[in-house]
């Protein structure tokens, strides 16, 4: 079974580095995008097994990116985890409404994130 690909859409390099380092010792293959538009384009091109989507992004917001991905047949059912800074109430609901599979609040524990990933797309044993 081939390695599973995860797309992380995030504009902050240190945060991307955390996930990059976190997944180094796993079988997951990480690809990265720096803004919403690039994220959507990469998702459609590479068809990842899972997407981690930051909500506060340049160009188009993570919510809008999720909506666009859900409208495409190739990514309509791809698991998407929305990551937000939990600025205002109702962010979780907005993410769910846009079509996110799960929701994570910053700051998140890297190991909790790994657990969540493994729950949604288990590594081949």
């Amino acid at each position: 079974m081939s390695a599973k690909t995860i797309l992380y859409v995030e504009d902050n390099e240190p945060n991307r580095m955390i996930v990059r380092d976190l997944l180094k010792r796993t079988t997951y293959n990480l690809i990265e995008a720096y803004d919403g538009e690039a994220g959507v384009a990469m998702a459609l091109e590479r068809r990842p097994d899972m997407i981690l989507m930051d909500i506060q992004l340049p160009k188009i917001s993570g919510l809008e990116a999720i909506r666009r991905l859900r409208a495409e047949p190739t990514t309509a059912t791809t698991p998407i985890v929305a990551i937000t800074s939990f600025a205002l109430n109702g962010d979780d609901k907005k993410a769910k409404d846009a079509g996110a599979t799960a929701y994570l609040t910053k700051p998140y524990s890297p190991y909790d994130l790994l657990k969540l990933i493994r729950n949604i797309i288990p590594e081949p044993s």
Binding site: S85, N89, S109
Partner: protein, 512 residues
């Protein structure tokens, strides 16, 4: 204009004017009828008198004529000095006096020109008749010739007298016709006059009514306009000198007051819009601030956790403790940021509860699992007491958890030995959360300020235990937003009990 007369005067004068007009027309009618009556009496009475005189004159002349005829017959048979003739002579002369008297009276009463002609003719022939008669009586003229002449004169005189009678009757008839015409005209005048008075009265009543109602209507429409919010209404009748003018000036004052009020209202609306905009900006600033602060904090805590988790290889034993401190301080910083942001959101009025069904058991379990290790580290007994029959609650589970976490966290923080207990009770429709500790307790005079922002009971405590003192005031606001209340029961040195009550099921759109 008439505006200077008070309404009261107008109201009193108008009916008086109408009554005066009525009285005027009635008086005119009475006077005219009275005059007509006099004229009628004069005409009819004069005619009657003339007719009467004329008849008597005719009779007297006929008597004279008869006496003369008898005289001329007797004269031939009797001596001139005969007593009978003497008597007759005297009788005839006296009859002439009567005729003169009657005629004199007729002359004074006759009026018409036709009658005057007749009267003049009668006068002439009467003179001739008398002259002839006297000649017969004094014997200068006698015989059949004189009598026949006299007869002719008599007939002529008779015809003139009859003519006078006819003329008099004619003039009486003419006067009658004229009187009838006059009465007709007069009754028409009275009719027209009454009609004019009625119209005049209606006009006066209308004018007075309008003089009162028109400015009132204008004032009412001005007031209506003011009431509808049109502040630049021109008040009519401000310069009137009557009661309506006073009213208009009062309305003007009212209008300017309401204009002021409107201006102030506009100002207030403007200010509140500015405030709303400011609050919105603040809220947007908070949202972006929250993101800006959490993103680096995420990296700090994330990297540190991975270092501690040996993702980057073995951690030297000396570095273990500092790394744990970094983690704890980072989390503390996060809590402070959360508290400050929460409080700012509450103050900006942007804090909203996210209401849903929730399990009290999950809330308490969440708090217990988070704080258990902390209590254990301090060697405190950590007890949770929950009855098994608490129904599903409705409210903001996240905020309730935050409040309970605050209270229990504080209890662990401020208790050096003994135990911390979390208990929940459901009494009817009220949920009561209670956190008791065996800490130092709180003095009564310090309990009041406990839930106020940035207040801790003692500055030294803040130094010893840390914290911003925001937790309790935020908890208080969240509980109040649920429609509940929070309080503390404590005795200095004997521990404290922090208790809050919230409705089991929070009403949608209720107290916030």
């Amino acid at each position: 204009m008439l505006n200077r007369f008070p309404v009261a005067v107008k109201v009193l004068v108008a009916p008086a004017l109408i009554i005066m007009l009525m009285v005027g027309i009635i008086m005119t009618a009475v006077v005219a009828l009275h005059q007509q009556q006099s004229a009628f009496f004069r005409v009819v009475g004069g005619s009657l008198n003339t007719a009467n005189m004329t008849t008597r004159l005719l009779v007297s002349i006929a008597e004279v004529q008869s006496d003369l005829l008898r005289y001329s017959q007797l004269e031939q048979r009797l001596a001139p000095s005969d007593q009978l003739l003497t008597d007759l002579r005297r009788s005839i002369k006296s009859r002439y006096s009567t005729i003169d008297a009657l005629f004199g009276e007729i002359k004074t009463t006759t009026l018409g020109s036709g009658e005057a002609d007749a009267v003049s003719n009668i006068s002439d022939f009467l003179t001739i008749h008398r002259a002839v008669s006297l000649r017969i009586l004094d014997g200068t003229s006698s015989g059949t010739t004189a009598v026949s002449t006299l007869m002719a004169h008599y007939q002529q005189l008779q015809s003139y007298i009859v003519e006078l009678g006819t003329r008099t009757a004619e003039s009486a008839r003419a006067a009658e016709v004229q009187a009838g015409l006059y009465v007709n005209r007069l009754s028409q005048y009275i009719l027209y006059g009454s009609f004019a008075v009625v119209i005049g009265s209606v006009l006066i009543a209308f004018y007075v009514g309008r003089a009162i109602s028109h400015p009132l209507t204008q004032l009412i429409s001005a007031l209506t306009a003011i009431a509808e919010g049109n502040v630049n209404v021109r008040i009519p009748g401000l310069k009137r000198r009557d009661e309506l003018g006073e009213m208009a000036r009062a309305v003007n004052v009212f209008s300017s007051v309401s204009r002021d009020l409107r201006d102030r209202e506009h100002l207030l609306t403007e200010k509140s819009q500015q405030l709303e905009a400011a609050s919105k900006h603040k809220s947007e600033f908070l949202a972006s601030m929250s993101h800006e602060l959490r993103t680096p904090l995420n990296a700090i805590l994330g990297f540190n956790e991975m270092i501690l988790g040996q993702t980057y290889g073995d951690v030297p034993p000396d570095m273990q403790a500092p790394l744990v401190q970094i983690q704890a301080s980072g989390k503390h910083l996060l809590r402070l940021i959360n508290n400050v942001l929460d409080l700012a959101k509450i103050e900006a009025g942007r804090m909203e509860l996210s209401l849903s069904d929730y399990s009290v058991y999950e809330v308490v379990d969440n708090v217990r699992s988070t704080l258990e290790s902390l209590a254990a580290e301090k060697g405190l007994q950590f007890v949770v007491r929950l009855p098994p029959d608490i129904p599903v609650a409705y409210g903001d589970a996240g905020r309730i958890t935050q409040c309970l976490m605050n209270l229990a966290g504080n209890a662990i923080k401020f208790t050096k030995r003994g135990k911390v207990e979390i208990a929940v009770e459901c009494r009817g429709q009220v949920l009561m959360y209670k956190v008791t500790d065996t800490g130092m307790g709180i003095a009564p005079e310090k309990m009041e300020t406990l839930f106020t922002e940035f207040k801790q009971t003692d500055a030294s405590i803040a130094n010893e235990f840390g914290g911003t003192g925001l937790g309790l005031s935020i908890s208080k606001k969240f509980i109040e937003m649920h429609g509940g209340r929070i309080w503390v029961e404590s005795e200095s040195g004997k521990g404290s009990a922090f208790i809050f009550e919230v409705p089991l099921r929070v009403r949608e759109g209720g107290p916030t």
